[in-house]
């Protein structure tokens, strides 16, 4: 399984790289097709995306709403700025918690790598205040996922 590589760049950006065993076209489409997005873009386990709008064209709107089924929900809005299928997506997004965060410009590229695809996503790091707000809602979810991982650890072998 391919692990993601996450690095910070000039203290204001974060760059995520991940390889997929599928063509650039397939990975690119999975980032724009709402029917596909709502199957994978869910964050920690236990969350669903009851509303998934992605108009899939330059100037098109994005709206994702997540729910944990226990009364907690939040949403993201954005717009697509540029598309160069199947190589590049540029969009802006704001998280609503419920106040919107500053618009984050995200550039995602897809490059053929053998039979697979190397995806690179570059986005702004939220400022300290935004991070605090995200962590206030997010840590709970992060810790839930950590506890779930802990429960599964007993089967793990050395070196895994």
């Amino acid at each position: 399984m391919s692990e993601l590589v996450l690095t910070t760049e000039d203290e204001t950006h974060v760059v995520v790289k991940r390889r997929f065993e599928a063509s650039p076209d397939a990975v690119y489409r999975a980032h724009l097709d709402p029917e596909l997005i709502k199957q994978w873009c869910l964050g920690p386990e236990g969350w669903t995306m009851p509303v998934c709008i992605n108009e899939g064209k330059p100037g098109g709107k994005i709206r994702y709403e997540w729910s944990n089924g226990k009364g907690t929900s939040f949403f993201l809005t954005g717009e697509i700025l540029e598309l160069d299928p199947p190589h590049r997506i540029v969009h802006v997004e704001r998280m609503h918690m419920p106040d919107p965060t500053p618009a984050n410009r995200v550039v995602t590229t897809f490059v053929a790598d053998g039979a697979g695809t190397l995806m690179t996503m570059r986005m702004s790091l939220p400022d300290a205040e935004t991070r605090r707000a995200m962590l206030a809602t997010g840590m709970e979810r992060g810790m839930e996922a950590s506890y779930a991982r802990l429960e599964r650890l007993s089967g793990w072998k050395a070196g895994s």
Binding site: M1, L4, R18, L42, R149, A158
Partner: protein, 114 residues
């Protein structure tokens, strides 16, 4: 240590699932090395190595209590940026594993199409 070097060390320490499991356990409170080793199917020396990596990354601290060296999360170890990056890493790791499965399923479906 320069901030960037410390961040690299922190991210590298967090990249390992066993070490994340140890941190998740320590989030519940202090634990001895043998208590930390218990849920893992790996040897105590291997756990001790993981603990040393976490300690060098400033994520956990150990104290001496008789013959035991209980561990706990370092105060403020995962605050601010590091905490945010770990949150992001966790969410994206889940996302991309699901996407792997989705892409594998679609490729299979395509193969079956006459």
């Amino acid at each position: 240590m320069k901030r960037e070097a410390l961040l690299d060390r922190t991210l590298s320490a967090l990249a390992d699932p066993t070490r994340r499991g140890i941190l998740a356990r320590l989030a519940l409170g202090e634990a001895t090395v043998s208590e930390l080793a218990e849920p893992f199917a790996i040897s105590q020396p291997a756990i001790s190595r993981h603990i040393r990596v976490l300690s060098e990354a400033g994520l956990i601290v150990q104290r001496v209590a008789g013959t035991k060296r209980p561990c706990r999360l370092a105060p403020g170890a995962l605050t601010g940026l590091d905490e945010y990056l770990e949150l992001l890493r966790g969410a994206l790791t889940h996302n991309y594993r699901r996407l792997d499965q989705l892409l594998a399923g679609r490729a299979k479906g395509k193969d079956k199409t006459p």
